[in-house]
Amino acid sequence: MDKIDVRTAPVIANDQVAPDMFLLRVQGAFPAKPGQFYMLRAWGINPPLSRPMSVFDRTDKLLSFLYAMQGQGTQLLARLLPGDKLVLFGPLGNGWNQQGDQIALVGGGSGIAPLFYTAKVFGKVDVYLGFHAKPFLLRTFEQVAKQLYVSSESGENGQKGLISNVFQPHGYDTCYACGPYAMLEALRHPCQNAGVPLFVSLEERMACGIGACLGCMVRTTQGLRRVCQDGPVFRAKDVIWDD
């Protein structure tokens, strides 16, 4: 595993790509596998906790995050200007392990964030993106997707409705999904019925980010697991969903 470290990196850009969605790029060579995340902060002791964010993209020169502006931490992130400093702790978590040839990545809402770098690294994967409102970053995703499927409530630039209705598991070797609980839920049965292994990236509130505080547990068939250290990626069938 790549060494986990805390680093301070200069912000290159922090662009608003949709209402309440920002693409934050920082300078530097950071190690990270698809599906891994960093704990981010750009403030002192308040709020006390850093914010977990998946790697949206990385190169030898930069690392980027796609995030939804919501509460106080992400509001502070959204204020960052080029030249400001971001503190990064990572890379954390297990990430996705490529398995099979025909791969589908399904993302909903801010859950589309980890899919770009994943598609880029895996290569030749179909990408399904579900948006609440107007879709964004489609050109960006087109560059790395074999096929790009898009849906939103309005149907703008794609189909109308939920991405879990658009996605059909048949023909895929594996499916990787990240998004709201309801979306993951909706993918489970189709994948199970089609015999397609489904891997999901989960979200829980995190304090330490490395498995020490036991704050981010998820119930699995193997017992309690730490989302930060044992996940965030789990096999859907291992997760106990009736929570």
Binding site: I4, I45, L49, G209, C213
Partner: protein, 302 residues
């Protein structure tokens, strides 16, 4: 050479910076970041007689400069700890303080007895967890606390520390004196504060247990006051814990009379916090020509 070492009863620590229970696992995780044997010691996650699952989620909630947690003492049980975790910790050269919780007075004795014959360096009795459902803060009952300490003392050949609640009688001098009288070697002040949050969208408490434990910088001025008072009142060493985030905070606690400090929530603010505090303390001693902590310990007492 700057000498940061400190003597807490029979136990010598290379420096007074200890990782607080429940925030540092069994030391393995943070060892991915730095050599954790550079800390004075590490308190383990609270250990119980049998494995415990802890509380259902959510387990964490942010508050202004503070953190509410409702972990609920999830742990693999003392036996598994002794077999699996302790050997790894000792191999890494860590000074290990085993933090202990008993669901009954007897259980405290049982867990302590199991640990007493191992290589742990000290045992810290937690009498003050606000996260056990239906369980009042045991620190609020002097008599029961005295029995817990007596039971633990009987079972324990190691240095025995007792970790107090910051509120109620748990922090009272009377209780602390009773603990001292039962033969504790040190008291740790303090644990998290019983506190809560309400999710106004859901219109109900955030935590299933309603109450959770408040930690972090927010509580520092209160725990500092408790340490100041306790260290005036007791003969045995007092160890400060609660909101310590930087070396200046640590110095405040030492000047208030603390022999050592424990760092909890601050590890989440900055994973290197413990190491940075030891470094800050080194520079501080250097700049102020302090030879030993005894030169300034309790110097704020008047």
């Amino acid at each position: 050479m700057i000498n940061l070492s400190v003597q807490i009863g029979n136990l010598a620590l290379r420096n007074p910076v200890i990782a607080a229970s429940g925030t540092f696992g069994f030391g393995q995780e943070y060892s991915q970041l730095y050599d954790t044997s550079r800390l004075g010691a590490i308190c383990t996650k609270g250990l119980t007689l049998h494995p415990q699952q802890g509380n259902p989620g959510p387990r964490l909630w942010e508050t202004p400069c503070g953190l509410l947690n409702s972990i609920g003492l999830q742990n693999p049980g003392v036996t598994s700890f002794v077999e699996e975790d302790l050997p790894k910790m000792k191999e890494m050269g860590l000074v290990v303080i085993a933090n202990v919780w008993g669901n009954t007075v007897k259980e405290y004795g049982q867990v302590v007895r199991k640990l007493s014959n191992t290589s742990v360096d000290a045992i810290e009795i937690n009498i003050s967890c606000p996260n056990i459902p239906g369980q009042p803060i045991t620190g609020e009952q002097i008599a029961r606390t005295a029995r817990v300490v007596r039971e633990a003392r009987k079972a324990c050949k190691k240095p025995l520390w007792v970790k107090l609640s910051p509120t109620g009688e748990g922090s009272s001098l009377q209780l602390a004196r009773a603990i001292q009288a039962e033969g504790a070697n040190a008291v740790c002040a303090a644990n998290t504060f019983r506190a809560m949050a309400i999710d106004i969208t859901e219109r109900k408490p955030v935590f299933r247990n309603i109450f959770a434990g408040l930690s972090g910088p927010a509580i520092k001025p209160i725990t500092l006051g408790i340490v100041y008072e306790l260290s005036l009142a007791l003969e045995i060493p007092v160890i400060g814990v609660g909101g310590i985030t930087n070396w200046q905070d640590a110095v405040e606690f030492i000047m208030a009379g603390a022999y050592a400090v424990q760092i909890g929530t601050a590890n989440f603010i900055d994973p290197f916090c413990g190491i940075k505090i030891t470094e800050g303390l080194t520079t501080f001693m250097e700049n102020e020509s302090i030879k030993s902590w005894e030169d300034i310990r309790g110097c704020a007492h008047q």
